[in-house]
Symmetry: C2
Subunit: 135 residues, 2 copies
DNA sequence: TTACATCTTGTTATATTATAACAATCTAAA
DNA sequence: TTTAGATTGTTATAATATAACAAGATGTAA
């Protein structure tokens, strides 16, 4: 079993798309990404989806499932690819990746009725962000 | 503020669609639902989506976000509408709603870095179900 | 170097999931 | 009974995602 982390050198398309998502202040949707990278020669949805799939796989980005949108990982990548948690503001749609040792420990150790453990999970919290709460 | 739970009498379309999902052994997708209820006079996607929206809202069913599929709630409905947890088998796609007082307590009390609490959440665990583990 | 496998790309077409807009009908409560 | 709100039926369209296939790049292994 491999335990060494392979260095993932991003391909051209992957790099272009990662850079775009990484500097976006909010999660980006696939077709918005497509629109934004057309000037760089990426013309078809499939080119975008292929890059997204790979970036998700290697943990550079995460998919916000309830929003069909993608956000760059800010938890030292890769490590968290399979165990993610986010807070989502229901008013302004601000999304923040949650990095809590306590939470990840709790979830990684959680056992269901049958005593099953799950190393992969995705958790999305919904509520109001600080700003929206004040208003 | 209302604290009394309104009895939600389902409308015809809602009842037809809920019955279908409720007796399905696996989560159902919208267009599969549509196909299955066409003989009962529900002909258009929108009729299905409207019923699904309502059923989700009142907690009779839940959406499995990572699968775009819907499953009937077996946790005494409603109560859990906004705080859901599921285990999903990555091989056979079996989905089970998790009903754990400990888990829901932990998540309902979880505070993020800013001390924010979130009463709504959706958690999806991924792994192998009992059957698939043996194989 | 050559040959081979594998990965990545480009491209067209198509499948799947979901909503917009509007008119008609039903339902509940004032 | 009137009226507001919810629900329905319908057509059209938007948004999200994948299939299929050919061509090019990359990296081993003889
Ligand atoms: Zn991350
Ligand atoms: Zn907000
Ligand atoms: Zn439930
Ligand atoms: Zn299974």
């Amino acid at each position: 079993m491999k335990t060494v982390h392979k260095e993932h050198t991003l391909t051209k398309n992957q790099q272009i798309i990662f850079d775009l998502i990484d500097k976006s202040p909010e999660p980006m949707k696939a077709y918005s990404i497509l629109f934004n990278v057309q000037k760089k020669g990426i013309k078809a949805p499939l080119q975008v989806y292929r890059a997204l799939d790979k970036l998700v796989e290697i943990g550079k980005i995460h998919k916000i499932e309830s929003r069909n949108a993608f956000i760059a990982c800010h938890n030292s990548s890769c490590q968290m690819a399979n165990a993610t948690a986010f807070s989502i503001c229901e008013i302004c749609e601000k999304v923040t990746e949650i990095s809590s040792a306590g939470l990840s420990k709790y979830l990684a150790n959680f056992k269901d009725k049958d005593g099953m453990k799950y190393s992969k999970y995705n958790l999305e919290f919904f509520g109001l962000c600080k700003k929206c709460k004040v208003k």
